[in-house]
């Protein structure tokens, strides 16, 4: 049979799919995304298991609002000759009071930090209570603990940036506490301060740590964390009778339920 001429809709389909095919042929990314989206998870995963992605969302909010703040924030403790206030403090006031929606972006960053930390703790509690840190997911638990420590580090370094009385004195005491650690303590304190006491160098150092060093490490570790989740699979809740989280397979039609959307249909009939 001679090759049939393509219909118009087939032509259109080919045109649309061309870039997708091009990308897939060269990177395999499309297949990767397809694998990510259509990988199987246990049948009765629970609302508590959304806490991890909720934490990721909070981190994304922090990254976006933080990038916007970085466009207007100036990490300098030098006194501005016109306002007679530290430049960093001035820029925070400007962001809060003058910039369009600046208060919203700063507020979201400030409170997003709290939400991020609460969610990390809740996510960790869920993983602990579900026993999801057990073989073979030990490494992912360790990555998670490191992420928690880094998140707290973000909280500590970010707190100084407004350069007001609260942040300044909390950081003075915080660095002094770091300095009390045996052996490494004094070096750590001196490194954090960028000198022997807190000054404008400390501020730019905290700024660099807060928006480059730790976020970079967090992003990389989140990548590893997610890779391990996809590779090892999502844990079923501990109360599941079977590892896959559902009972033995019974065709959903026999339950008088529509397949798929009713979550407990299969399990109920099996007991």
């Amino acid at each position: 049979m001679a090759t049939r001429r393509l219909t118009r809709s087939e032509q259109l389909q080919q045109t649309i799919l061309y870039p997708v095919d091009w990308l897939e042929e060269r990177s395999g990314l499309v297949g990767g995304i397809r694998y990510f989206l259509f990988r199987k998870v246990p049948g009765d995963i629970n609302w508590f298991q959304t806490l991890g992605s909720a934490t990721l969302t909070a981190f994304i909010v922090q990254a976006l609002t933080g990038s916007i703040l970085a466009m207007y924030y100036k990490p300098s403790a030098t006194i501005d000759p016109h306002t007679h206030q530290p430049i960093a403090y001035d820029s925070i006031q400007r962001i809060t009071n003058e910039l369009w929606a600046g208060w919203l972006v700063r507020g979201m960053h400030r409170w997003g930090a709290s939400v991020f930390i609460i969610l990390m703790f809740m996510h960790m509690g869920r993983v602990f209570l579900f026993g999801a840190y057990k073989y073979p997911r030990e490494l992912n638990w360790i990555v998670g603990v490191l992420l928690l420590a880094m998140g707290l580090g973000e909280g500590f370094t970010g707190y100084l940036l407004p350069w007001d009385q609260t942040s300044y004195w909390a950081t003075v005491v915080g660095i002094n506490i770091n300095g009390t650690a045996p052996f490494l303590g004094p070096f750590l304190a001196q490194f954090l301060q960028g000198g022997t006491h807190i000054n404008t160098d400390t501020l730019s150092r905290f700024y660099a740590i807060h928006m480059l060093l730790i976020p970079g490490a967090i992003a990389a570790l989140i990548g590893l964390h997610l890779y391990l989740v996809v590779r090892l699979g999502v844990t079923s809740p501990p109360w599941s009778k079977e590892a896959a989280g559902t009972g033995p397979l019974v065709p959903a039609e026999q339950n008088g339920h529509r397949a798929g959307l009713t979550r407990f249909a299969e399990r109920r009939s099996s007991r």
């Binding site: 990510f36 259509f38 990988r39 199987k40 998870v41 246990p42 049948g43 995963i45 609302w47 992605s53 909720a54 990721l56 909070a58 403790a77 530290p86 403090y89 809060t96 009071n97 208060w103 919203l104 400030r110 409170w111 709290s114 930390i117 209570l129 026993g131 999801a132 840190y133 057990k134 073989y135 073979p136 997911r137 030990e138 360790i142 603990v145 707290l152 500590f156 707190y159 350069w163 009385q165 609260t166 942040s167 300044y168 004195w169 003075v172 005491v173 002094n176 506490i177 300095g179 650690a181 045996p182 303590g185 844990t235 501990p238 109360w239 989280g245 559902t246 397979l249 798929g260 979550r263």
Partner: protein, 276 residues
């Protein structure tokens, strides 16, 4: 024995993989729907907090007054200030309050470094301590008790840290004549000037003196500091650089106050021999 356990763990995980492959459901759209909904809630909560923070701030919002969620910003940082409250963000309150439990100098290191480090190591070690495959909570009494204790102690420490009363310099100033009378330095103008500085410089956020003060960071009681006869020169150099004199001290430097005022505070401390 150990190998038996390993074989069992591998078998359970293999079973899990097969079961999920056979009877699991695809991530999209089922799990993804829940995740997306939860993420929308998170973004809404964050936005809501930002709005409440801004719009409950009294006045024209351009103030350092506190709304429901605290101040938009405090007064600008001033290293030479004479009144400050060292207070971390709320999620560090449990660490902050932990330091009150330990006493300077014997065990304060336990509070600042020891307990947090031990907790971090324990946290990292959990998957290597608990090697059983059992995940049902009813069969994990140790895990339940441990998590209940952790949640309770973190909650109590955070609450205590949040409600810890800060001594206000202006209120403490009124105590100075009472201190002078109790300690018997009424005639000593230098000591009285020092007592006033001591009251407003935030010393009592950590130290205690004649029954008032914060008792933070393991800071010692100073009521009878003068009875130790350390001398004015020692007190001044200690105020300038506490960690240089007392290695490991978390106390901040007060060099910003200047020699004259530091000498007054030192005189006051040396005149405090304990109540008569």
């Amino acid at each position: 024995m150990a190998t038996d356990r390993l074989v069992e763990r591998r078998r359970v995980f293999q079973q899990y993989k097969e079961d999920v492959k056979e009877r699991g459901k695809p991530f999209y759209p089922f799990a993804m729907f829940h995740d997306t909904l939860m993420s929308v809630v998170v973004v809404c909560v964050i936005t809501g907090l930002a709005i409440v923070w801004k719009y409950t701030t009294p006045g024209n919002h351009h103030t350092t007054a506190a709304g429901w969620l605290g101040k938009l910003y405090d007064a600008p940082a001033d290293p030479g200030t004479i009144n400050f409250v060292p207070r971390p963000d709320w999620y560090f309150y449990f660490l902050f309050y932990l330091l009150r439990i330990f006493k300077w100098p014997e065990s304060v290191l336990l509070g600042t470094i020891g307990v947090p480090t031990i907790c971090l190591i324990l946290l990292l070690a959990i998957p290597f301590i608990d090697l059983r495959t059992e995940r049902r909570l009813s069969k994990r009494p140790v895990a339940i008790v441990a998590s209940a204790l952790v949640i309770a102690s973190m909650g109590i420490l955070t609450y205590k840290g949040a409600t810890a009363k800060e001594a206000l310099g202006t209120e403490l100033l009124g105590q100075v004549p009472h201190w002078a009378q109790k300690q018997g330095f009424q005639g000593n103008q230098q000591a009285i000037a020092g007592a006033k500085l001591f009251a407003v410089s935030g010393c009592l956020n950590c130290h205690t003196y004649l029954g008032v003060g914060g008792h933070n960071l393991g800071a010692p009681e100073l009521t009878a500091e003068g009875a130790k006869h350390k001398g004015i020169a020692f007190q001044v150099s200690h105020l300038k650089c506490p960690a240089c004199v007392n290695s490991g001290s978390p106390m901040p430097s007060f060099a910003g106050l200047g020699d004259q005022r530091l000498t007054q505070i030192a005189t006051f401390l040396e005149a405090s021999k304990g109540p008569k």
